[in-house]
Amino acid sequence: MSDYAPVNLSAPDQIEFELNRRRLAAPAGTMLVDAAYAHGVEVPVFCYEPRLGGPIGACRMCLVHVEGMRGLQTACSTQVQPDMVVRSDTDEVRDAHDGVLELLLANHPLDCPVCDKGGECPLQDRTFKFGPGKTQFVEHKRHFPKPLDLSSLIALDRERCITCFRCVRFSQEVAEDGHLIMRERGGDSEIATFTGDHYTGRFTGNVIDLCPVGALTSVPYRFVARPWDIKNTPSVCGHCPVGCNLELTEHEGHVARVTGRPNPNYSVEEGWLCDKARFAYPEDRAPDRVRQPLIRDAAATREVAIEEAVEAAALLLGRDGPHAFLLGPGATVEEGFLAQELASGPCRGALVAQLGLGDAPALAGLRAAPAAQLDDIDRADLVVLVGGDPANQQPVVELRIRKAVRGGGRLVSAGPRRHPLSGLGPSYITPPGRLLDGVRAAGPAFRAARRPLVLWDEADLAHEPAAAAELAGLLGATRGARQLELGADVNGAGLSALGIPGAADLVAALEQGTITTLLTIHAQPAESAGAARWAEALGRVGAVVALASHGGGIADSAAVVLPAATHREQEGVYVSMAKRAQRLRPGAAPPGGAAPGWELLIALAHRLGAAPAYRSPAATFAAAAAARPALAGLSYDVIGELGALLHAAPPATTNGAVGGGGADGTGLPLVTTLRIFGDAAAHRSDALSGVRQGAEVVLGAGEAERRGLAGAAQVRLQSPHGACTLPLRVDPRCPDGAVHATLGVPGAGVERLLAVDRSPVRVEVTAA
């Protein structure tokens, strides 16, 4: 992790000071360590971590000499002052560094050879660079039994801890879960949880990156590889539309670890990752991974060579159309563009659609309002959260909101569900369809604020045009107000920028039985909203070709399965919910016969006799940027390490959620919720087996009483679209007037209750 805060050396009000006989300048308020680092002088630190809040001066590693001040000063907690004269290279300072390191190592076991941090350890590196060659200590070091399981994901080795308080501060001041504490004092100090239970939460893995020694290490990565056996590749996360920047560690041909970037992207994730991003990578080697191309006919399923599978897919797509191409939310911009190119070339007339929400007309006004980036949340004095549940759906946004509130900002939330952030400020829980009331309630606070920021949930507002219009009006009427969309689909913004519409026409065409061949690209229609209708419609299509990374669903019945790389294994561009185009870079090669989607689609185009002029993802993206105004001016080089913003709005498309109609059906309105560890990725990853979440139905106590369900263990939900049966939890804090059910859990079937465009429904709840 980068330990120093970025310093803007070209900011207007620079202060001049002297460091090691050099005349330098830095903005007022900069800490000495950061100013020095920006000018190429490394003052060693351990406890200092600007992302954790103010400095605490716990480790004394950063001592420097400041002229006119008695004794040495901690550079991590001293700001630069005009004409300050600082020395970090005197014998006195060197002696102090020696001494501090010798003390830090007094109790530190020298078990570097068996320590997972060894080789990428700040304590090791700094001892080498700044420390004494030998120690004067001959006494026994303290010993603890080791390692302890801090959780199913984190191993704790208390002997190695240098009590820098970074992990504790993360838990207390960033994630604000209050779990981690430093127990006892002095030589007995040890890291523990307050309750003595496991450290659980949505962001626990960050303490692994933060710990400057090997005291906190990853359990799934334990003893897997050493730093000289690995290759790290900067990429972005493909689990939600936030688009956190991360680093993929390759070992023996597969992704063996995911960490935050050593140089965080301060406009996006600020170096934090949620535990799903960090620990979902074992899904790349899950038992249901598609490793070989398959051809399936009435008699049998055969594993074939990739050429044969592409040939078979080309035969199916070479027949008389119309065909249809369905892109899943995780398809890259390149895959989307190649599908469009197929549809305008060899498969002329094919329908191209995305499984995600697509473009909802109700949201046009909101999207046209001035847009914000994630780091703008920090600076807002009022954050209005409309709909959604960022803690579970766009997890890292939670940390930004908490940071804004810690910094004195206010949070007002309105929406159909209670969520982990509801307690941070006034919260208006509105029944589905009545979000307008919540927006109106937040109005006065909004008008009173100077830099208000609206975070609005795409999925919730798509069906609440009145609330969306009210919100757009508020934004338009308030100077300095900005909005940030909480997107629903990983690359929904990227596919929309290409002009790919939602899937309403496509499913209707399938139902009419007119589609000859359906090609799905990272799509699982029968496990998405409207599952029941999709299942029915898929039965009427001539043939299915599935480009998929994992089995199950459509890959188990498709005539041809093309084994695809996951987002950790392929090159491509994702556009985040903040309209930031970012590059995926392959952390490892896909296993077995699998190949990146772009490669398979280009091969398919060749077989269909329409060889495109481009053969690489970079060239494909360049062609897409040239052809689609929303991507104008972008290229892999422009996107670079930190991403680039889309400037033009996406083209308007049809088929998105229309909204405005009342809820279908009878009974209670249905509120769907997502849980961070409840999706297919979390269920496939064996690392997450200890925290994985299932599906449930939640009813308020009053509602359960009224329906005679208080004692029921299982309930059946029936909507006009379908039905499912799930365990019931009665929660006194859950608002009455709606039934809450968990979406996205594989096999739970809540998707069956919904329409394809996720429009509101009512469900009958009965004991099962």
């Binding site: 078990d111 050879p113 068996v114 060894g118 080789g119 080791k146 390692p147 334990r222 003893f223 897997v224 050493r226 000289w228 056996d229």
Partner: protein, 154 residues
């Protein structure tokens, strides 16, 4: 060339001519190697039977020929293999690639691996040249005698 110079040139020839020839009947007999000779590797165990190697892969990092592969695993109370927290679940050296530089021995923080005197490592198949942990833990079946001391030890 003078006669004297020619005779001087033959001095060595004449002086060795009458000595008994020294022929060592290899492979039945082997010339003793010097103590610092670097031959086939050996992995060592402690007196209590635990392996010295903790699977730290430092030898892998040091190896210029990239011929060592270590896959570590964690010791458990039920299955304790080494004295440290981890042990080498797989330890392989590809003898065809090894250049017998001895860097692995230098890198090892636990003196777990050393280069020994044995040099007879030809096999009939290439894959048999990948020596496994079991092979390296056992003494080489074809021992080689070691000379008492260095030739010019002071």
């Amino acid at each position: 060339m003078s006669r004297a110079a020619a005779l001087a040139g033959f001095r060595v020839t004449f002086s060795t001519m009458l000595r008994k020839p020294e022929v060592i009947g290899y492979p039945e007999r082997k010339t003793p190697v010097f103590p610092r000779f670097r031959g086939r590797h050996r992995l060592w165990t402690h007196e209590n039977g635990l392996e010295k190697c903790v699977g730290c892969s430092l030898c892998v990092a040091a190896c210029p020929a990239d011929c060592i592969r270590v896959v570590a695993e964690e010791n458990t109370p039920e299955r304790r293999v080494s004295a440290g927290e981890r042990f080498a679940h797989i330890y392989e050296i590809n003898m065809l690639r090894c250049i017998f530089c001895g860097y692995c021995e230098l890198a090892c923080p636990f003196d777990a691996i050393t280069l020994e005197a044995e040099y007879e490592m030809s096999e009939r198949e290439r894959h048999a040249e990948i020596y496994t942990k079991e092979m390296l833990l056992a003494p080489h079946p074809k021992p080689v005698p070691v000379r008492a001391e260095e030739p010019d030890a002071e």
